[in-house]
């Protein structure tokens, strides 16, 4: 079920109508049922798979905790390993098996071995990367003794399957969410107001900005050989706008919807294109994934504690796996490798950067240059993220140096859509709040909301799913 659909609106309204009047246990039960409808609407077989996975994880977490309480660390570790094998195994099978087989086939072919490629079309369960990371963090946190697992299966299942964030995050931590499930949610006026604003902003970002940009830049990525360099640059920048609008829009809708149910989800984006360096970018982009990778991969690998070279190694491993998390393709590997390289270079240059002026005109100039350079570097990496194949990426790169007339009008859609995005981001950034419009007087606030609704109506009804649904 897509957020941009009548079915979702019906499900949301039906659930919200009864939700506030229920006891805590029933609130969780209703949420669980709504989440099952939401997920099962797409494919009921994978709902069963998810149900088995959630039940096993809940049971394993109980065993880990029980073993740890009894002082049996080896048993606790064994159960943790079982959880890791089960979750990562499912992820590896559904997401990477096809890619792995393809690479083996290509490798064998390269050394002259004629092999038959097995035909196995595996459908990727929706949102598997997101809920797998949630269940993994739960098991690890229980093992680390940072979390007492919930004794209620319903509470745990309702948390993992919570429909606003089930398929594309934010990747929540049990330590943040389970306590919220263990008290009755009372819906306050500001929750409703801020939730509705977040949902409106999310739809505006997704439908008015991202979907429009998607249609405009699609031809460049499908047939880069047909366009000249200015059009390809405009296309890449349009995708830069699109992916931010799409994913941040999703996160806003998820967070807004959660607010209507009395939950506070983590913020997933904090104006990433205002970042002044790549490290700063990763503190602002897909925050729930970057902090997950930091806490469960980068730090356990040693982080920055074991010298410069090992720090670079850890950064590269983290970003490469972060790239692979998005999908089984060399394009994502290159995307991750580029970000890893950027982070290493930034780390190497940090002593020099730290000596740069921070105040006055020179400081402002330096900060602006940093932001511009970071934006350019990040936009360049989106090429690898967006291209369907490596051949298309090469064709796109070749097109950058193709001769052609640079027409300013090529960039008109980009400027308009970027301006629309900044209409939200600048007030948010300046007021340091996500819903700055809530505080405006009603005579300004309501026409603004109406203008956004009008923009939604006038925008393309492309039916494009959210980009991150495929992960």
């Amino acid at each position: 079920m897509n957020f941009v659909s009548v079915d979702f609106a019906i499900l949301l309204v039906a659930t919200l109508v009864i939700y506030p009047w229920l006891s805590r246990e029933r609130q969780n039960l209703v949420l669980l049922c709504a989440s099952c409808v939401f997920y099962g609407y797409w494919d009921v077989r994978f709902l069963a798979l998810l149900g088995v996975q959630v039940t096993l994880d809940w049971w394993i977490a109980q065993r880990i905790h029980g073993a740890a309480q009894a002082g049996n660390q080896s048993s606790a570790k064994g159960f943790l390993q079982l959880s890791l094998v089960m979750n990562l195994g499912a992820l590896a099978f559904f997401k990477y098996f096809g890619f792995f087989v393809e690479q083996v086939y290509v490798g064998l072919h390269a050394v002259g071995v004629q092999a038959h490629k097995p035909v196995l079309d595996i459908i990727l369960p929706l949102g598997i990367s997101f809920h797998t990371f949630q269940t993994l963090s739960h098991s690890i946190d229980v093992h680390r003794g940072r979390l007492v697992p919930s004794r209620s299966w319903v509470d745990y299942a309702a948390f993992i399957l919570f429909f606003p964030q089930l398929v594309a995050g934010p990747i929540e931590r049990a330590s943040h969410m389970l306590p919220q499930y263990q008290r009755k949610r009372v819906i306050r006026a500001e929750d409703v107001q801020e939730g509705l604003w977040l949902i409106l902003l999310g739809y505006f970002r997704k439908v008015a900005i991202a979907d429009t940009a998607a249609v405009l830049c699609e031809p460049m990525f499908s047939h880069p050989e047909k366009f000249d360099s200015s059009e390809l640059v405009a296309g890449l920048l349009l995708f830069t706008v699109q992916i931010y609008g799409d994913f941040a829009g999703y996160s806003d809708i998820a967070r807004g919807t959660a607010r209507l149910f009395g939950f506070e989800l983590k913020r997933n984006f904090e104006h990433p294109y205002f970042a002044i360096n790549v490290s700063d970018f990763w503190r602002r982009w897909h925050i729930s994934l970057s902090t997950w990778l930091r806490d469960y991969l980068y730090v356990p690998l040693g982080g920055n504690r074991n010298g410069t070279l090992l720090t670079y190694r850890n950064l590269m491993i983290t970003m490469l796996l972060g790239g692979l998390w998005h999908g089984a393709s060399w394009n994502f590997v290159i995307w991750g490798a580029l970000h890893g390289a950027y982070l290493c270079i930034h780390r190497a240059l940090k002593p020099v950067i730290d000596r740069a002026p921070t105040a006055g005109l020179l400081g402002a100039l330096f900060t602006a240059s940093g932001a511009l350079l970071t934006f350019a570097l990040v936009a360049f990496t989106w090429l690898f993220f967006r291209s369907a194949t490596f051949e298309l990426t090469q064709a796109y790169l070749a097109g950058f140096v193709r001769d052609g007339e640079w027409l300013p009008r090529t960039f008109i859609p980009l400027f308009v859509l970027a301006a629309m995005a900044l209409t939200i981001d600048i007030p948010q950034h300046l007021t340091k709040t996500e819903t700055p419009f809530v505080r405006l007087p009603r005579v300004v606030r309501l026409p603004l909301a109406a203008a956004m609704i009008t923009a939604l109506c006038l925008s393309q009804d492309s039916g494009q799913p959210f980009i991150y649904f495929q992960f």
Partner: protein
């Protein structure tokens, strides 16, 4: 909390209603790219012309129904004047001919589009042999190109509600406008596009066919095909079923259903083997069906397929040029006056 929410909701509804009123204005219609929720911009233009006509002159009395052949053949302004001449009734007619609107499409449009919009006394449905021949139950172009038509056709309550909302909320007619404007700006084209002129009609739904037959012959236009198919009465059965359904709809609306036999250039039926027999069979079947169902047929050719043969009358073998439309309308008005004259 509830009071605040109610006030905010009401305020928001008022603001959105203001936006809805704005997009209904003539200025917005003339400035923004032409909206399209139907299978063709024809419908947008036709709908706009009809709304304006009924707002200023009152309800339409005569609706001409059919394909682009109808649209190019009948001039409602001239028709009304001709009917009113010499003490005839003063009628208000509208040409609802739309591209590819063969009997099945015309029936679907009668049911979902015309019925809620007009209350005519007469529905004059223009037909010709290729339109009645093997009529598709649901034309593919309606499913493929339309936004609202697939909702009409699905039959589910949800889709009916969605179609109703889509039909009545004009803001939704402009879906995709932001993108169209951006594309036109990027490509250096005039904002607003060319659909208004390409698909435009006069205030009564009539559109003059632009090219002459001589030019189309010179350009070897694909429209100049010749009828070569063997034809049996069975080939017209599906088409007649659709006419029957349209007649029932007209009866329910209180409108008299009348068929109009549209002239075509005789060269269409020039093929040695199947041309003329096909036409003769069609004509006989049409008369038979009309008599059986008590539907009058207005025929300006009086059964002679070569009667309306002048090259200057045609744009191609079935679309009349301006001179042909002028002549046809005059003859049709005369036939119509005879039909409605008190016996």
């Amino acid at each position: 909390m509830l009071r605040n929410l109610a006030v905010s909701t009401l305020g928001l509804c008022l603001c959105v209603a203001a936006a809805e009123a704005a997009v209904r204005s003539e200025w917005v219609y003339a400035t923004l790219p032409l909206p399209r929720i139907h299978y063709s911009y024809d419908v947008t233009n036709s709908s706009h012309a009809l709304d304006r006509l009924q707002a200023t002159d009152g309800p339409v009395d005569v609706l001409f129904l059919g394909s682009s052949a109808v649209r190019a053949a009948i001039m409602p302004l001239k028709f009304d004047a001709a009917v009113a001449k010499d003490g005839g009734p003063r009628l208000l007619s509208f040409n609802g001919g739309m591209s590819s609107m063969f009997p099945s499409g015309a029936r679907i449009y009668m049911e979902h589009y015309w019925r809620p919009r007009v209350t005519p006394k007469y529905v004059l449905h223009g037909v010709r042999p290729p339109e009645l021949y093997n009529a598709q139950p649901v034309p593919q172009y309606l499913r493929r190109s339309g936004v609202i038509e697939p909702l009409w056709l699905s039959g589910s309550l949800r889709d009916e509600v969605e179609a109703f909302v889509l039909d009545h909320v004009h803001l939704l007619h402009y879906r995709g406008t932001v993108m169209k404007v951006l594309q036109q700006a990027r490509d250096g084209k005039r904002i607003g596009g060319t659909e208004r002129t390409t698909y435009g009609t006069d205030a009564r739904g009539f559109r003059r066919a632009k090219a002459s037959l001589a030019r189309n012959i010179k350009n070897k236009s694909k429209r100049l095909w010749v009828w070569k198919r063997p034809t049996t009465p069975k080939n017209f059965e599906a088409g007649f079923r659709e006419l029957e359904r349209i007649k029932s709809l007209c009866d329910a609306m209180g409108a008299r259903y009348v068929l109009v036999h549209l002239p075509e250039h005789p060269k269409r039926y020039n093929a040695k083997k199947n041309g003329k027999p096909a036409w003769s069979l069609y004509y006989a079947e049409l008369q038979r069906w009309a008599a059986e169902h008590d539907v009058p047929v207005l025929d300006v050719t009086h059964g002679d397929y070569k009667a309306f043969a002048s090259t200057k009358y045609y744009s191609d073998y079935h679309h009349l040029a301006a001179a042909g439309a002028d002549h046809m309308t005059g003859l049709l008005a005369t036939e119509f006056k005879k039909l409605i004259a008190p016996k």
